[in-house]
Symmetry: C2
Subunit: 548 residues, 2 copies
């Protein structure tokens, strides 16, 4: 039996080494580098917390200042590669290997570094998939996380931006790892305990509050009539037809437009209470008018959104909140909710091919997936029926014993035929495949695979891929909504007309929608200021969204 | 803005009403009925904690003793229907509607009650799927949970059997619900904080410790040579061929036999370190010899197992343990790990049809699914490659752009051709379909669908369904391993031989396995007592497994 217990002993030794730079559990910002050099060891798996929203930025700066002679060859296992320091450490030799999920702003630099051999890539995951591996083969030895406040026992308040933290801490603390939390302030008593103190080894009082990106704020003022038209089609042609109540929205303007049309256009269609009642969604400011109009029953959130905290606090009837009154978000549970409890995922993408595969990867950027592939997939393990899900299943099923009928998740791509810079959204072949070849990825970075996507919405119409019976029909259905792109112009017009007669391709007029009605006056809010008004002054938009 | 905040106010009123029967948060066992009658309201969604392992049995008894005039028409949303009280409350009118996941011992009674109209069924879920709905449309108003101990502030120690508790509490406490915990004892200070006290409203000191079922203990003495032969085939023909490192096992004797052959048969094949290193698994006693022989790197657990606590405590190098030294299990994370981080699920079933659909439902029992459909499904949202997963993907993919190649999860059914009572495991049509028709289920209770299962192992051989290119090939591959069942005797012998030449059907001799070698002497442990010896006396089997 000797030989057992080494991992626990090694953990105790790290903590002992770290204690030299701490007072109890408390570490000053000035001592961060010394602490990290004391507790980290070469080849450690390290989770430096950061996703598409909050960042443990003080600890990121500290890590990037460590001496590469002492701290090197780390294996980073984390949701986001977002801050410059997240990549600096690879150039410095502090880190060597990377497993991650999301990279917005650093997508181009990651691609260059992968191509240059500066990063040994494990894989690009979805959030939930990476969390899963934290418990199996990518368990962190050290977690560097962020919270709002902590007491001297380490009890941690993560507040509205709880996000990934409980998951990261659980995987690390219960497998003999070391957990370091940066907090904005040390307090005598935290407003609520998001993480019990016996899972936190060190608390760093950061030099400034942790950074949060307002990623889910879409300014209604920037919404176009094309986006409004697409939103009308989605509401009438998909939400109403399938009776979609439980859903998740991506972050584009198309879905934000849907949110703003619920209390206006959808209300006139008599859909209140029939659609869009239960959400797995961040607190989108554009959902405020629907909430205030009584459309929304419940919202569970991955994270929070800058400026929404006071509003959420006063809307605990809708949001999940804690004993302190503020939001409790949880990315792992919300991703699980998006996977198994929602009937619809609708999001945007940059490229769609002729089979329906889509990707947000372009020739020079590895953006990462975030949550889209998880929520934009049909979970075969689902066993509860809903009318929405069964209707989609009936449309998809062509043969077989009807007693074995099952449902399908609705996975919708909503895109303008020409995206930003007039780049066509429809392509013969995804750039992702070329990029994968160039930088040596074993698996091409496809966001949603063709066999999961059920509908494509563009300004030209809706393609229902569930009803397609052959690859040829599928291709023509896609071409049939691809507008004036080269893909769209390459359509077989007669076949597209036949698909239209079968309801596989539907134009605005087929849905009883007059494109000229797609007017900005339909938006429940036409500006950020309108959203503030709707909220009764509770929504406090960040400065960059204010022009008053 | 008036009108908002009602949910929080209603919660506060319930707690106020409950306080009349409590001293602070503490409630005596004698006051449970009064407490429940005070806090529950008609039509409440209630989670009465209980899964396939631990049970909040004191609270279940209390609920069943409530006055149906005061507490009625509850909507039960819970993992397990296991105790008689779980169904008594439906007969009494205390509960009306049911959403659940698992029902071992009560499967026959549920079927009768559904048929008699005594239960309004929502759906039969997998665990993870029901957890997902806790955050969307099945959020509990009241959660009745079980822990080992609590302090007077409500800080809860759930210990080795943490299981579903953190998930249930998170969904309830953060959505203005009321949480009542039964504990074995009230203490001054809990050994570790599994749930912070600010999420727990009432603590009931139970009249006896909560019940735990030793569901994952398989006595090696009961293992047959047929099971050993199947285990040898699985190891050599699947584990070795695909290099499976990350995996989950079901609870049958077939998979327990695999565990016991790792340090013997698999070791002789030179597979140590090559297979079965990282697990999402309960602490199966039959895994002890493999752990002690250095085969296992890490195990994350759904729950604990009776008698394994001391052993786990001394093996924190392998298991997830807390600051107090004992196991930290977590069903939600382990199910997520099984879904997204494992390359293989292998389990048993009662019936397999000619397409490969399987079910544990028989004509008179609705057993529920537990976790099998979740782990026994190919997650389309997975984006990280492994050699195992990519090899399976290559075998399955027949057409299409090779640049779009992706992997497949291995989902294996291991069954004897004739099960208990010599009932054939292979059937023309699943009994589940008949039962669904009889009791009016919208969705037939299929455990694993044909499009997810990749291999079937019987004593006659292995059928590799990934390599089948037509429905006909698939049917003959299944018939080809179905032995002397009617399905097996109905095979096209010439075609099965052709499938054998293509490696789709493999006999023991094709794998270089001599059936006569399948001897009990291959088992690393041949009795429960042997397991105790392997554990150095740390494993303490429950009385029913002791014969010394």
């Amino acid at each position: 039996m000797s030989g057992w217990g080494r991992e626990r002993a090694a953990r105790d030794a790290r903590i002992e080494a770290g204690r030299a730079h701490a007072a109890g559990k408390i570490v000053t910002a000035a001592n961060v580098v010394a602490l990290l050099e004391a507790i980290l060891q070469p080849d450690d798996r390290v989770c430096l917390e950061g996703d598409n929203q909050k960042q443990a930025d003080c600890l990121a700066r500290g890590l990037s200042q460590c001496d590469p002679a002492r701290v090197h060859d780390l294996h980073m296992v984390q949701s986001g590669i977002v801050l410059p320091e997240h990549l600096d450490i690879f150039e410095q030799g502090i880190a060597r290997r990377l497993d991650y999920s999301y990279s917005g702003p650093q997508g181009a630099r990651i691609a260059r570094m992968l191509y240059g051999g500066h990063i040994e890539l494990g894989a690009v995951h979805t959030y939930l998939e990476l969390f899963a591996r934290y418990f199996v083969d990518l368990t962190p030895n050290v977690a560097l996380i962020a919270g709002v406040s902590a007491d001297r026992d380490g009890n941690l308040y993560t507040g509205p931006n709880t996000e990934d933290t409980p998951t990261v801490v659980e995987a690390t603390a219960f497998k003999n790892g070391v957990v370091v939390a940066q907090v904005n302030e040390i307090v005598d008593r935290v407003p609520r305990v998001d993480i019990p103190g016996d899972r936190i080894d060190f608390v760093v009082e950061a030099d400034r509050p942790f950074y949060v990106e307002p990623l889910f704020t879409r300014d209604p003022a920037a919404m176009t009539e094309t986006q409004i038209l697409m939103a009308m089609m989605a509401i009438k042609g998909i939400y109403a037809e399938y009776g979609i109540r439980r859903l998740n929205h991506g972050i584009g303007f198309g879905t934000a437009a849907i949110e703003l049309l619920l209390p206006t256009y959808a209300e006139r269609l008599g859909l209140k209470g029939q659609i869009a009642t239960h959400w797995a969604l961040n607190p989108h400011p554009t959902l405020i008018p629907a909430i205030e109009s009584g459309w929304v029953k419940q919202v569970h959130c991955f994270g929070s959104e800058v400026g929404m905290d006071r509003y959420i606090r006063e809307r605990s009837d809708i949001f999940f909140t804690g004993a302190d009154g503020s939001l409790r978000s949880n990315r792992a549970f919300c991703q699980t909710a998006g996977l198994y409890a929602c009937d619809l995922f609708i999001g945007s993408t940059l490229q769609i091919d002729l089979a329906g595969h889509s990707s947000t990867v372009t020739q020079n950027r590895v953006a990462g997936f975030g949550g889209a592939p998880n929520m934009g997939s049909d979970p075969h393990g689902r066993r509860h029926p809903s009318d929405t899900w069964m209707k989609a299943g009936r449309e998809a099923q062509v043969t077989g014993d009807p007693a074995l009928m099952r449902g399908r998740k609705l996975v919708v791509q909503i895109v303008e035929t020409f995206g930003e810079g007039l780049v066509p959204a429809f392509v013969e072949r995804l750039d992702a495949l070329e990029l994968a070849h160039k930088i040596g990825l074993e698996l091409a970075p496809v966001m949603v695979y063709a066999d999961d996507v059920t509908h494509i919405v563009t300004e030209e119409g809706i393609a229902n891929l569930l009803l397609c019976r052959t690859a040829d029909e599928r291709e023509q259905a896609i071409r049939g909504v691809a507008g004036y792109t080269e893909i769209g112009r390459g359509r077989d017009r007669a076949m597209v007309e036949r698909l239209r007669q079968r309801g596989i391709v539907r134009r605005p007029e087929d849905l009883g929608i007059e494109p000229l009605d797609a007017d900005r006056s339909l938006l429940a809010a036409r500006s950020i200021k309108d959203l503030v008004h709707w909220s009764g002054g509770l929504y406090e938009p960040p400065a960059k969204f204010r022009n008053w």
